[in-house]
Amino acid sequence: MPEDDAIRCDACPVLCYIKPGRTGACDRYGNNNGQLVRIDPHVVLDRAKSRGDSVVPFLDRDREWDGSIVAGPETFVTAIGAGTTYPDYKPAPFIISSEVQGVDMVTVVTEGIFSYCGVKVKIDTDRHLGPETNTVRAQGEPVGHVTTSEYGSQMLSLGGVRHLTGGSRREGTVTCETLLNLCDRKPVELTIDEGATVIVQAGKPPVVDGTQEERMRVGCGSATIGMFAKQWFGKVDEVVVVDDHITGVLSEHQAGKLLGVPETGIKMKGHRSTPGRYFRVAEPGTAWGGTNIENPLSILQTFNPKIAWPKLRLLMVSTTGEHHAYFELDESLRPVEKELPAVLSESVARIKENCEPALSTVLFMGGAGGSLRAGVTENPVRLTHSVRDALTRVTCGGAPVYVWPGGGITFMVDVTRMPEHAFGYVPTPALVAPIEFTLKVKDYAALGGYMDHVRPLDSIVERGGRRHVSARPENPWPLAPGKSSKSDRKSDPRSNQ
């Protein structure tokens, strides 16, 4: 049935065979010189002052977009649905001018086909997901690896050219699908060799081996002792911060010693690392401090009768503050649980308060190659220089990006700051991501821009087939990044622009 020049579209189960220059049954995907491309209406980012979001959520009446279109520089054309520069020497599909604060700005928008791209995933969990460098799999196919962990978080590096095009056909397809789903903020199940199975979704808590992470711990047990020692001093005689990684004991810990906390005769189970720091007080689990213990006293041995005293006050707390218990020793030096005194409940609440919600976060990372840059200027390296010199601003679907120092234009962007459905793919397989370059008209001319292809903003907005979305209030406005798109909001510390 398929003829040699037709390609099969797998965007939906109809699985159309599409001839070059034609679209499938949906009119949304087409065959462009052998490449499957999405022909969605072009996304125009409206700097609407309205509430609302990129799409109107189904039956969510509080967040409806009022449908207004704001004219002039209040509108920014994103590259989503713009089409690509393929073949490379063609000018980018849209080169748009708009006047911003008296300065003519040019935005070159294109959808880049990124063979060199991937996502960096930060998973807020202390659970061991798998050994560093071990393979991460989706649907059984290798799609990336475990990379260096960060404080309180495990890191995965997924995608990249080796998985996309260097392995089997299925490996490439599954990798592409995994990246696309992660970038589209959909949940993806990943399995790590000799490690855990984790469900990752941008901006949502990770689910590790079926357990959803709630909060990041404030620090390890030892660090928690260090942070709160002063607040406990004088209010309690001994504190044990239970943690699967390092359990801390106040009286033995350096922080306690410095404050002059007297010895208490406490004896811990587990393996002592350095004074006041214990490894493996219990097995990993989902109870106290990521251990399997339900009764905190089970990690204590009997107090040393030569040092301990009756009425000794003992606080046991987990690294997230979710578990806590207060004891006093009786005449035979056995801990008896008592109600937590008010002076201590404040410190427990503070531990809790300092535990941030655990999230998975996804940064798309890609490099704008020579071909993509050639769509912007006849002399591609000048675009790189212009970005370096901060004359040209790079955005991804209108969202701010971090551009890596060094050669080329390699950037990272938080996918949750982009409009929905901003990414596509081609059967190479490679991801299609929007990318916009914004610069002054005279700078554009100077770097060899396609001046005869510059079109006024109105001509883009007036033509049909445009999807207007409201700007995200947390993003700086792409044409005037000094101001956030919502004037009453402080500038976003996450912005790199």
Partner: protein, 333 residues
């Protein structure tokens, strides 16, 4: 890779947009707010599996004759094309848009009490009208240049609850040269199939100004295979336009007298013919009756399907077929 179905409210918050692959529905319900919400929830829930259901039997639905499918929408498609299947080349795909629209509308009216509702599947529309209600429907001639050439008022006292438009400029291929044929029928799937048949009949076979291309050269997996589909229509004389419209009207009249359509408007090069009848025929076949027809035929085995060019065979054959059907019913009672 499979994109998820999109379910969202359109800007303005009144209309629901359901999109999955080639299915693109605009839905609007009227009535009490909680009833509208219930209807939209039901529409969304039903919509979730529609494309997968159809695709699981896609090969069967792309064939002119075959077994009766399993899916409720697929069965409705087969039933809708059954009256024509013996006389001309038609596959159940000719009724897919209307059949899907009917299904979603059915889910909504089952779940909620609505004064009015419509499900618009790219111009193939299923309607709900509570007693005393009416819809005003706008009609466009050229989908690529939308401008209203007329409106039709549909009142609850009239039987039509399905509207469909077919033409060579539309999303689907056409064997004829009509710019647009709009049909009113009792059910959307029936309207969809009928619009296809009538639009195919508006034709000037062998005319040099008509550009025809094999369907499979445009879309390799088209259900129309090697049949020639219209890709361009050049200048035609007034007589030629009349002749082509006459052919379409003849077929439309035969469908009317068989209870398959209630009305039709045919457009070609700025000329419009509207079927006007001052009566309703009462012998309207139900979906079950039409499906029974399909089951009977597939049991017997079909004669080789040939593309229909002249209107006469359809007219006479369709009448003959329904004459048989009526006879059977008479015998039974």
């Amino acid at each position: 890779m499979r994109e998820a179905a999109q379910i969202r409210l359109l800007p303005g918050g009144r209309r629901l947009h359901l999109h999955d692959g080639p299915i693109d529905l605009i839905v609007e319900a009227f009535g009490l707010t909680q009833e509208i919400n219930a209807a939209y929830q039901a529409a969304a829930a039903r919509f979730a599996t529609v494309l997968d259901e159809l695709c699981s039997e896609l090969a069967l639905l792309r064939q002119p004759a075959g077994k009766i499918p399993v899916g409720v929408i697929a069965k409705r498609m087969v039933a809708a094309v059954a009256p024509y299947a013996q006389q001309t080349f038609i596959t159940p795909m000719a009724a897919v848009a209307g059949a899907v629209a009917e299904e979603i509308l059915g889910a909504m009216t089952f779940a909620a009490s609505l004064s009015r509702a419509y499900v618009n599947n790219g111009g193939d529309i299923a309607l709900h009208l509570a007693p005393g209600e009416k819809f005003v429907v706008g009609m466009i001639e050229r989908p690529d240049r939308p401008s209203l050439f007329g409106t039709a008022t549909l009142a609850s006292s009239q039987p039509a609850r399905g509207i469909a438009t077919s033409g060579w400029r539309g999303r689907s291929f056409s064997l004829g040269i009509a710019d647009a044929v709009t049909v009113l029928a009792d059910r959307a799937a029936v309207a969809d199939a009928a619009a296809t048949i009538i639009a195919n009949a508006v034709d000037l076979p062998g005319h040099p100004a008509v550009v025809r291309v094999r369907a499979r050269d445009l879309a390799p997996d088209s259900d129309l295979g090697a049949l020639l589909v219209t890709q361009g229509v050049g200048k035609l004389s007034a007589n030629e336009i009349d002749a082509a419209l006459d052919a379409g009207v003849a077929v439309a009249n035969s469908l009317f007298s068989n209870g398959l359509i209630r009305s039709a408007a045919l457009h070609l090069h700025g000329n419009t013919r509207v079927l006007r009848h001052d009566h309703w025929v009462s012998n309207v076949p139900s979906e079950a009756e039409m499906l029974a027809l399909a089951a009977k035929k597939s049991g017997k085995g079909m004669a080789s399907a040939v593309p229909l060019r002249a209107p006469e065979p359809v007219a006479s054959a369709a009448e003959g077929m329904f004459a048989r059907r009526r006879t059977q019913i008479n015998c039974g009672t």
